[in-house]
Symmetry: D2
Subunit: 440 residues, 4 copies
């Protein structure tokens, strides 16, 4: 897919990680490591391993041509190994027979994908840490910034922006853990030979697998996993939950940034025609990820029932989708890190927006206070009447306390505090600090 068509679904760093060059590099690292491990175990000549290593400079291989050939053979490994073997043969004819020994195509391409995923993880983790740090800062800075809660997009009793940011922090932190687990699980080498028994390696299969994993900085799994894709499925799924969480933050911010609300603002991007525009461009990237990734996760999960020892088609559909998921997740994290680090928050406007409701959002509070004294029915009546007044431009609290029964029922100092957001925050700060202090 063109960089222009899908350019918001990744970052410069992740384009690099999942580039043709990077895949080729991973495949060649596999072939070189395999030969070196086999040489170190005395299974192939040292000279052969060195000839293979010397012939495997990534820049000598043409990714586009290999991709083209792969459309005929159904795998990218066959054309790569063919080219590598030619290059080795040109250098050392005898060594050519030792290229790719004991491995199957999928060993190479799966391991190359895992190597990319591992590199991507470092990048994602850095932006994850930026996001959590920024959220913690926002939450602490605005622990006392009261604002409207909004449920079903309608105003509701107050919360603090600190609590809102802490809620985001909690969800992001939980996802960080899940994704960390999933990446760790998936960081395994693939080496099983034709059918997952390593039969072509005789009795040395497991020894080679262990050495190969060590050489590549991966774990060696209990057994090859050619047709068992649950680790990748789980990685995809964990990213799917993560982008959902990031999308929630972006949706909240973009709603708060509406000019009619104007409580927060990201630095954003401009318009090609409208000079006044400041668009929530960072939020757009996170929301785009949250829109696309669920379907991509479903593609990966749909492809899991892979036939016998190597799947037909379902396996072939997987690598590009995994790469797209990881990149979209990284793009969302990167965009939100920037958004959150530079978010402008306007506590005055938050307070003003509460007042602009005509104080109706305190009707719940009034109901609680009055029900005990006036009973449910009378309370419902006086509150409904005050709400009606607020709907026509009046103020709910003013209208309420003008009613004689209310005046009698409430203590003297209560009427004024009825519209005091700070007096109706419940456990907000307790929840906030508990969410934030939780170690990541």
């Amino acid at each position: 897919v063109s960089g222009l068509l899908d350019g918001l679904g990744t970052t410069d760093a992740l384009i690099n990680v999942f580039s043709d060059r990077s895949i080729l590099d991973g495949m060649l690292r596999f072939e070189v490591a395999l030969a070196r491990v086999q040489a170190s175990l005395g299974l192939i000549p040292n000279e052969a391993a060195e000839a293979i290593a010397s012939s495997a400079a990534v820049d000598e291989f043409d990714g586009a041509a290999i991709a083209r050939d792969a459309r005929a053979s159904g795998t990218i490994t066959i054309p790569l190994v063919k080219r590598l073997t030619s290059r080795v043969a040109a250098r050392d004819q005898a060594a050519a027979a030792f290229v790719h020994r004991g491995a199957t195509s999928q060993d190479v391409s799966d391991t190359a994908l895992i190597l990319c995923v591992v590199r991507a993880q470092v990048i994602l983790r850095k932006d994850h840490d930026r996001v959590t740090a920024a959220l913690r800062n926002l939450s602490d800075a605005h622990a006392a910034s009261v604002m409207l809660a909004r449920t079903l997009l309608q105003p509701a009793p107050p919360i603090t922006f600190g609590l809102k940011a802490a809620g985001w922090f909690g969800a992001v932190s939980r996802c960080g853990e899940r994704v960390r687990t999933a990446f760790a699980e998936a960081s395994v080498v693939q080496f099983g030979g034709a059918v997952g028994t390593l039969a072509a390696s005789g009795t040395h299969g497991d020894e080679i697998a262990t050495g190969l994993a060590r050489e590549l900085g991966l774990r060696a799994p209990e057994a090859p996993w050619h047709a068992h894709r649950d680790r990748l499925g789980f990685l995809a799924a964990a990213c799917g939950v993560y982008t959902g969480v990031l999308g929630k933050i972006a949706r909240d911010i973009s709603l708060l940034m509406q000019q009619e609300v104007a409580e927060v603002s990201e630095s954003g991007g401009g318009s090609s025609t409208m000079p006044h525009k400041r668009n929530p461009s960072g939020c757009a990237i996170a929301l785009a990820a949250a829109t696309r990734v669920p379907g991509l996760v479903s593609s990966v999960l749909s492809g899991m029932p892979q036939e016998h020892e190597r799947g037909l088609g379902n396996w072939h559909a997987e690598a590009g989708t995994i790469a797209a998921i990881v990149q979209a997740t990284g793009a969302a994290l990167n965009a939100l890190a920037h958004v959150l680090e530079s978010l402008q928050v306007d506590p005055q406007r938050m307070r003003a927006n509460i007042a602009a409701t005509g104080d109706v959002v305190f009707a719940e509070r009034a109901k609680v206070l009055l029900t005990e004294k006036l009973g449910a029915d009378a309370t419902a009546r006086v509150i409904a009447s005050a709400i009606e007044s607020a709907r026509h431009g009046g103020n709910f609290v003013d209208a309420l306390i003008q009613q004689p029964s209310v005046a009698t029922a409430l203590e003297l100092d209560e009427p004024t505090s009825l519209r005091d957001p700070e007096a109706y925050l419940g456990s907000a700060e307790q929840f906030r600090s508990r969410l934030i202090q939780k170690p990541q």
Copy 2:
């Protein structure tokens, strides 16, 4: 996404259609056509239109750099227009003010996407015609080739391979109609200006839109469709149904190609380690599409509720997904065209596989014939006993006719015909010819 990671999800021709160069070309064609139409209406100087046209050679623009800048601004049009304007200004300072006049970013990128989609359609249609022609040929050639039906992957009474191919033909033909309709609906220019009113074009908006559509070979819709994505959603959905149908064909063929079945065979691809292998590589590509595309369709549909006059994030998630869907559909079609044109069919093996069931698949027939004469209970008993015999290596028909009650019940010539596949095809040929003769 890397060509290596996702190289089976497209073809050389479609990579070209959805390349950065192709998108840039579409965007530049939009800007040039817009200027020319405006000049032809006397709204901007002819010299300006010519300066714009002369500055818009696609090779002078760097897609990767524009994609990079787009990550900051949130749109690929802004960096393109900036570069185009600079180039125009260098040629004719006054003309620079007339670049992109009255258009919004989305006008350019949406139209460029549509232009690519229109080019892709021609390619898909060609392979569609190859697929239907090959299926019709296969069906006609094998109108009399009897084979096992298989339901829930278990053997069942006979059909003909001609009927099977006709069933594929019918579904593919229906999809061809649906996709044709969907492409036709989607072939509309996007030109609405900032908010879809073309206000910046004064009273000339509609006139310009009509000219622009004509210039680009597209239809002019009733109104701009910035946030109304149903035509693209429908195109995606039609492709999703199509890949499902192509996946069904590929699944059937790959099952029939199992060595234990061996009724048909595609020319296929080889293995990097196993010299004896002939893999159903073409089927793999079609099945990969059928695995991936449903999730991609769901991404497009999920993104349809786009906010107000331009969506946030949901719109941004769309273009890459549409391109991936169209390419995967085209890859599946292209692979299957090749598979079907060169499919090897083995009618002898088909007949042998019927016999190898010990003729149990004719138990239904026997039940129909005997029930009238022996009653339901007695029939069930004799059939069950004959089936049991076949399960232990015997032959169902032989075992059945050895039972005295059956010998009596059946006419003399029936026992032999009981195991005759041709005698139990029902309306197969009627259905086959009706499916095939239907004009595409």
Copy 3:
């Protein structure tokens, strides 16, 4: 699934259509119609057909028990036919042998599903007509109600509410056509016998199929479609596009109904705790459909590659999903019909919200007017300065015309019209009337 867990995903009428009783009714209608057609062709005794018809009263069958038995046999038809046969035998022993003759399980359950779908269509169409009528009325009534456009959730130059409603109308109307086509395509009987050849019906298969279709008010397709699910896939996909369109309307309305925006309002629902709340409950139902259905569509499409003459698992996953999709679509339509018929629109608030931007949304217009006279650079400077002033509480137009260069450049009467929404609507009315006048 429990009615409580998923009760917003359907309506009373559609619960009825897809109830166990309704499915049983469809299955029994199939068996009765089959027997009657066979009797009319002289293939079974008239008495048998009448005994079957007399034994098929839906209330005599226990849906829950049949569903339970189906979990053992893998199909709901086997336990139903067993019960029906017993009932027929009790009435007329000889007739029992003629129950379900020539049919396979899937013939019965597929046809029953189609009968439900056809009943649902009538319900959906009625609400579709209500929605389009309401939208046309809203568009006509508010052809002159100016309001802010909003792109990427930020204010933009004006449109009319009439144009917005007309855009909704256009998309809904297009979907109405698509869904109508898809329902029509899918309204086909299923009758193929064990493997789709109707072999057990001898030479009468096609004749019976035609009669059966006529009896049930369905079309007879070219051939049975046991493993060709494209018509259902297409129906699902068309509903998916439709719910996307309905979700867009609901998203727009719920955003406009935010108290900070307050331009429109649905009658809505209340809260269990907050007396002041008026929630956009109708929009919630439409948005819930737009959230759920895309994944359901992907389930249907994923299941399309069904093996050979009857799929394994993929077919079994389909009926419940199709029913859920149609019901969610119907729920969304029904909810929106109510929302749109009683939508309150506040043109004064719309106009006030334009003014509340400090008129910055007219910056594009100012840019167009001034660029010709002052050149691009000077124009950009004076506009940026006026925007800055508006950001600090001033008014964009006031700030702009205070600048001497602007005063000189603009004609006397232009400054006042600069902030006149009616003067900057471009082709809005032209587009609106074209969208609305299009025959549905």
Copy 4:
């Protein structure tokens, strides 16, 4: 959705868990527990709590009527609380004011959903344990049963059925861990009041929440999670990976059960028309789950970006989807437990199927052995010629050793062992035992 339409997507036990009655029970348990905790803290009279408890007998409430009313109010809690309050008032007028105190609708419905999920987990875990036990038994019993591996649905060098079962075991065990974690994470009470601050509970909110969780056997989370749905998203995702793994097992078994392969067989179900049929009905249920669930997971993930303190529509779409996912997962587990506990395995047929390939699957082995002695080119030639011979009905090994160069190259005893499956299993047993011995 009708039990008949979707009856294979659940089990009797799980229908019960997610029934209307069960949801009502959970909601009523919430209200009773809330009142009791509040009474125990002295916040409401003990008599009120007892009146509420006495009025909350689940059988007194009509689920269908409540679901119907919910379509108007948008929540199932409002009609339930209304009915409960009436019943309490009838018993003790004063107590009615204490019903649902401090809670919001979503507190009740979310917690009721969680209570169902927790009950479901017990059921799923039992079947999970059956599946793993059966797989371990199969793997141990068939550690030495050689069989063809199959890659891309084509025969490949041998494995053991013990290794295949161990691979299934490994994936199922990993999923068991993931799902256990996800269920544990999700087992949290929801109690946040109108906006997640518990403001209506004054300073006692957190204390009540803790008591409520204890009373209901759930965990109390750091904070309410009305709009933070990541725990449910993760549960859905983990189930999605799980059904993928179960689908892989079912796909393998159903392929091995094809009559042409006949290596294993499940007890299965019959056909309504074909007396000889034994269908893989258990596999069908697992494959149906693997087909449906990925789309359902994508629905849940798509709905995660929920607005502010309570989502609009996205939240409403969730509960039914979660229930469907858990039920489908449980249905797949239950079906596979039965399939695996009674799976018939035919080691003789497995061995015969190897021989039936004409021994071509040993071509890889021959290549490894010969390449060292004859060089790559000569080896390729002699092997290709022997494969060609096998393609025409000969035997690969026989044809190979007839070639003089091969006879010379191989030691005397090698030719016979070339076709010995046991001699070409590599690390199969090492992998098998490592997978199986891993503690679950």
